[in-house]
Symmetry: C2
Subunit: 231 residues, 2 copies
């Protein structure tokens, strides 16, 4: 299931897109390069489970993954992770446990970096530490927006928010190919999948968007934005 390939490329090549490593020196990058695994996951496979130890910092290098909290009978997707992005859970500095699960939505490849090395670099390189804190902060801010959407907007507004998230932040195009399931859409917007499907149907009937197969296109961005804002 897990196919380990050591050092298939080096970090200096790989990370030109990955701003969190920009603050590292060649020597520091080399240290990371020597302490990482490359792994691939098939769509649907679990990358790590909530509650388990967290020895690696996971970097998604291709495909699409989701991080989600397993709650009371259903899941809440906190975010989708695309290349080149990182999964750093809050447990790393608390009890070394994962506080959410991660799974591949599309086939994925990932680099796993030893958390001990990572923490060592945080201590030794203040620029890297600041960049890390900055990213944790950005994640917090995103979560704030999400929790307000989930707790204060009704279903139409929440689905609108998720569609913008997919179009603007994840697939970064319009039209885009929805590689996530309806259940995932529901888990992103905190509702039942039946409700998510119904809202989508209404949006189609009102000409706000179209779908054909897995491709979705937003037609009336303005109206969708208004639905997002009026809740």
């Amino acid at each position: 299931m897990i196919n380990k390939i050591h050092h298939s490329s080096n970090c200096a090549d790989c990370n030109f897109k990955a701003s969190i490593f920009n603050s590292l020196s060649t020597v520091e990058l080399e240290l990371i390069n020597n302490n990482r695994f490359q792994v691939s996951y098939k769509a649907g496979e679990i990358i790590f489970k909530q509650g388990t130890p967290s020895p690696y910092f996971v970097c998604i290098t291709s495909g699409l993954a989701k991080i989600y909290i397993e709650g009371y009978g259903k899941n809440l997707i906190l975010a989708l992770i695309k290349p080149i992005d990182y999964i750093f859970g809050p447990g790393i500095y608390v009890d070394n446990r994962h506080y959410y699960s991660a799974a591949a939505v599309e086939d994925c490849t990932a680099c796993l970096v030893d958390v001990v090395i990572f923490k060592k670099l945080i201590r030794e390189n203040p620029d890297f530490a600041e960049e890390f804190i900055r990213r944790v902060s950005l994640q917090s801010i995103f979560n704030f927006d999400q929790v307000i959407s989930l707790t204060q907007k009704q279903m139409h507004g929440r689905i609108a928010d998720v569609i913008f998230y997919l179009s603007d932040k994840i697939y970064c195009q319009n039209p885009f190919e929805m590689t996530i399931s309806r259940q995932d859409l529901a888990d992103l917007s905190g509702m039942s999948k039946e409700s998510a499907i119904r809202i989508l149907k209404e949006f189609k009937e009102e000409g706000i968007l179209t779908t054909s197969g897995n491709t979705m296109e937003i037609w009336n961005t303005k109206q969708l934005r208004q639905i997002s804002e009026t809740g």
Copy 2:
């Protein structure tokens, strides 16, 4: 309204309870001591507003405060802050803006520490940086629990969660004196104040808790725990 008292005591005395400053040297503490204001707020007064610049790290030294997101027509209280605890928003490392508001629930005193000094210490002292990251992480974990409670539990479970939060984490006693309003209770549990009041009434009728005046006492912890867990 804001009564500034400089250096009424020194940080070395004050912070014996405040674990985040344990990792600082005498010299570093002195630096903080020389760059702080002491301020008092009356109950109801706003400490800072969401969207405004964030030049200070706020430490609550007496009283009780709340941090809350101003959402679509209503507020969501993220946490109550009691002495000695700190308010550090994610904006400090992003755009120096507050992403939530803070207000005094009871009369409060607070120390305001210059963010520039704070960030300087983060860069210079890896122990302090790690402790800071650890605290940000703990806050994230708390928010995860909260978002699951808010999005996946029904009203009874959410009120139960908030009552445990008040009893175990904030007032740290049972019975305890509720210094927060019913509206605050509602804003903590993501529902209307009418609903919050109704649930409380049901709990009283079932003998789970009693209230007299502002004093609340949990009588049947086991049953309340079960309500929390079954959602």
